[in-house]
Amino acid sequence: MIYEEVTAGSRARRTLSGAARLVLELRIDGPLVVGLALIAAYGLVVLYSASGQSLATVLRTAARLLLGAIAMLLLARVNPNFLRRSTPWLYVAGCVLLVIVAAVGHIGMGAQRWLDLGLFRFQPSELMKLAVPMMCAWYMHERPLPVSSSALAVLSVLIVLPVGLVAVQPDLGTAALIMIGGALVIVLAGLRVRVMLALLGLAAAAAWFGWSFMHDYQRRRVLTFLNPQTDPLGAGYHIIQSQIAIGSGGVFGKGWMNGSQAQLQFLPERSTDFIFAVIGEEFGLLGLLLLLLLYMFVAGRAIYLATQTQDTYARLLGGSIALTFFVYVFINAGMVTGLLPVVGVPLPLVSYGGSSVVTLLAGFGILMALYSRRKLIGS
């Protein structure tokens, strides 16, 4: 297949402004990058307040964003063909690393997730967030769509293997996100609606079956997970305090660095998983709507870019990256506002800590690489 660079030899080049030339040179998508940058900037402003005015935290996060941006820019320049061809190797390497983590992993956060690489600690599960959808897209690349039953079986194995390795770490949140990334590829690959419904029914039956075999205390644990308000001092404390924070913020918020819930530490995990509540408290409904608007813009733009790519691998992978981004946002916001159970999912680009920022931006880098080197069919 022939890839032709959009920019090469274009006459338009001479009439473009410097910034646009830079965008073309870097093979990035201007609107997407601007959207991401706005979210990141907004996030840093909020983080300064949420961390209790810790400049160090803000600088560390800015450094991570910078690292992610570099990864994004580098990946945006990678040839998609190369990316596709190396996908199986990346996937295998990721799985091997997960096994190593399980075996000799550094103990961090009470669970084995890290590989200490001397300079920094590397979380193979983060790598798998990208490697799994890449692998699924790779598998479907040469196969006809919609996905067939045999392909579905293979894809399931490809997804479940790393998800299982991550889940035993145990890091259920990340495992779920990896699974979603892979599952979205299957959905975009045209999995039939009735199969989807059948799978959902199967899951419900399994849940009911498991429930009937559970002890009372286990049921209570599940119920608390689903409805934390029943345990106001334990699991429910987080969600109750975050709802107070958001609700008391009202339409206009209490003002930057003036949210009592956040500043007086009533809100737990205020700079990490629950930073959404800090925005709600300090900037109110308007602040949250602005944030959601930015997220929608980025997700929408990403989906648009995915639809503009021209081979199966690119479409499936790009679509998965775009949708996963939104799923992250929705899970975090849903959890903080009490719509969903509490699971440890950070708010993309805003929450402090973790290597997720780098992964996320790397994913967008790949998306832009896929978009910027479209096959020029018929033009």
């Binding site: 913020g249 009202g250 009592s260 500043q263 007086l264 679509g319």
Partner: protein, 630 residues
């Protein structure tokens, strides 16, 4: 294997686009759900969550109001507030609690046996809370700690307000005391108003005037974080926190004259007894003594059970307020009112002489009533009978009057009912009558009134019992020739901020009617005779003012209830109680009093000299001249 499917790029592109659109729609719907949820939280239920967040961060801490002072009539402080020192420890600031406590034991600031208890208290406290580990430090303790202060990070001396009684025991039975608020107290106070208050009036003036003394507590709001720790800011701005200052309680101005009170207490010191001195023209209490007393300060600082046990088991009952609650037969001190009854009912000719041979034969009975100490007064008229306290004369007079008339006549003088003084616990004593006896006794045989009982009534023995306060009240009624004023300890209160003094009007309870002026004069003349030529002539000698009095001697037969006396004390405690009532100057009285000395013997020898000292203290200036009336 089905036929190999060929990739159809256009179809696949369409399929993907279709799926992408569906996903985008789902995304949109999810966002709408999220926004709806935010709308519920931030708009619909905003007020609810605002309140919750406010409740989360602001804690209201009470500021106790300063308790009002209690002053005597000349402004001398009887009860005030004083800071007490205590040693407090903030656990998180102490590097090694065990070592610190050990050093404090070495310094003798805490006792070795208390260390475990203190460690437990510290362990159960939040690490940033200040934990009191030693209360009631003396100045010396404070000094000892102060010089080594630098060795004890996290420890500090804190002050708190306690009640302070500079004169110790003085007037304690009028004053009462304050103590820690008990379960019992909580039932009848407004808990909200007492948040932050640690002491409450338990007895006496401190209790009666609790509301006035207590004042109004203030509060200040403090910002607290999730750990309950007080912090001074939140993020960028210092929030608006409300503070309401406390309003100090009013100062009370007692009618008590501490100078007179001191003289009275000193005069009675070493004995059990009571002195009550009133201003007959207002009911103002000039002195109210009940001995022995106790130090009220120890209740305010927290009395130990050992200390309290000691007070309770004391054979002299220091906690017992004899002035208000001790009921005794009045003895001959009732003779003036009996005489007045005789005159008013016209059953006696004041000038007629009767012969006293030391015995009285009740007509129609074989029973013989004897003169006290078997004296013989010879021929006496009413004046002599009062002055020399002739029992035989009053046996006869009582017999002629009869119990009904005596009882009816005496009732307005305050016998058998409480005087209504402005402190609690007063006992009414007993004014016997036929009706009373009917109620008081169960057996029909005991319920009838016997003539012999009337005879004893006439000299204040038998069923009749009074408190020292009642007798002082009675003396003041005679002094004013029938004016009745309710006794009171608090004459005025002072607003501590403006210094404005509000005087309380004396409470009149009317006057005795139907008694002729010359009859009052006759009885008063007899009482003056007591101090000039009668039973108390010795103490009336050289008095620069004319005063009226009456001695009394009450036989002891009911005091020794349920008590195990040490053998050597028995005889002393079975001696007669000694009474003296008086008022002075006789024509324009400014003070009326009653003195009781338990087991003091005859009234003239024990109680009367004390009364003279009290009268002198009140009426005379430093040069021994009668002070002009103010």
């Amino acid at each position: 294997m089905p036929a190999v499917r060929i990739k159809d790029h256009w179809r696949e592109q369409r399929l993907f686009d279709q799926r992408a659109v569906v996903c985008a729609v789902i995304m949109g719907l999810a966002t709408v759900a999220l926004v709806a949820r935010l709308f519920v939280l931030q708009v619909t239920k905003h007020d609810y969550y605002s309140e919750l967040s406010q409740g989360n961060r602001v804690r209201t801490e009470p500021i106790p109001a300063a308790r009002g002072l209690i002053l005597d009539r000349s402004g001398e402080v009887i009860a005030g507030d004083q800071p007490a020192y205590q040693l407090e420890l903030v656990p998180e600031e102490v590097p090694d609690v065990g070592k610190t406590l050990a050093s404090l034991v070495e310094l003798e600031l805490i006792r070795a046996e208390d260390v475990n208890e203190i460690e437990r208290t510290i362990a159960s406290s939040r690490t940033f809370d200040s934990v009191p580990i030693r209360l009631r430090m003396s100045d010396e303790d404070v000094a000892r700690f102060a010089v080594r202060r630098f060795e004890f990070p996290g420890l500090d001396i804190k002050t708190r307000q306690t009640r302070w009684y500079p004169n110790g025991n003085l007037a304690v039975h009028a004053l009462g005391y304050v103590g820690a608020i008990s379960e019992q107290d909580l039932k009848h106070i407004d808990r909200a108003a007492y948040a932050g208050t640690s002491l409450i009036g338990k007895l006496g003036v401190e209790s009666t005037y609790e509301t006035r003394l207590h004042g109004t507590n203030g509060y200040h709001e403090v910002l607290v974080n999730a750990q309950g720790r007080s912090v001074d800011r939140q993020g960028a701005f210092v929030p608006i926190l409300h503070t309401k200052g406390p309003t100090a309680g009013d100062d009370l101005l007692l009618s008590i004259d501490l100078k007179v009170q001191r003289v009275a207490e000193n005069a009675l010191a070493g004995h059990r007894g009571a002195v009550v001195a009133l201003d007959p023209n207002t009911g103002d209490v000039i002195a109210l003594v009940s001995l022995p007393g106790f130090d009220p300060t120890m209740f305010g600082r927290g009395i130990t059970s050992a200390e309290y046990g000691l007070l309770q088991s004391d054979i002299d009952h220091p906690l017992f307020n004899r002035a208000l609650r001790g009921t005794y037969p009045p003895g001959s001190t009732v003779k003036p009112v009996i005489a007045l009854a005789g005159l008013t009912y016209h059953v006696v000719d004041p000038e007629a002489h009767k012969y006293c041979a030391g015995e009285f034969h009740l007509p129609g009975s074989s029973r013989i009533f004897h003169e006290y100490h078997n004296e013989r007064h010879g021929s006496v008229n009413l004046d002599d009978a009062i002055a020399r306290s002739c029992d035989v004369y009053f046996y006869g007079l009582a017999d002629v009057l009869g119990v009904d008339r005596i009882s009816t006549f005496m009732a307005p003088f305050g016998f058998g009912k409480v005087t209504g003084i402005d402190i609690g616990g007063e006992k009414p004593g007993i004014l016997p009558s036929r009706e009373w006896k009917l109620k008081a006794f169960a057996k029909p045989a005991d319920q009838a009134w016997f003539p012999g009982e009337t005879v004893n009534f006439g000299i204040g023995q038998g069923y009749l019992t009074v408190t020292p306060l009642q007798l002082a009240h009675y003396a003041s009624i005679i002094a004013t020739r029938g004016k009745i004023w309710q006794p009171r300890l608090v004459g005025a209160y002072r607003d501590p901020r403006s210094g404005e003094i509000h005087h309380l009007a004396p409470v009149s309870e009317g006057e005795i009617t139907g008694v002729a002026d010359e009859d009052w004069q006759r009885v008063v003349h007899g009482m003056i005779g007591v101090t000039q030529r009668g039973t108390a002539a010795a103490i009336g000698l050289h008095a620069p003012y004319v005063f009226a009095g009456k001695t009394g001697t009450a036989q002891v037969f009911s005091v020794a209830q349920n008590e195990k006396y040490v053998a050597s004390q028995v005889s002393e405690r079975l001696r007669d109680h000694s009474w003296f009532i008086a008022f002075a100057p006789a024509d324009h009285p400014r003070i009326a009093l009653a003195v009781l000395q338990e087991n003091g013997g005859a009234g003239a020898s024990a109680a009367a000299p004390i009364a003279r000292k009290v009268l002198d203290a009140y009426l005379l200036d430093a040069d021994g001249k009668v002070k002009p009336q103010t």
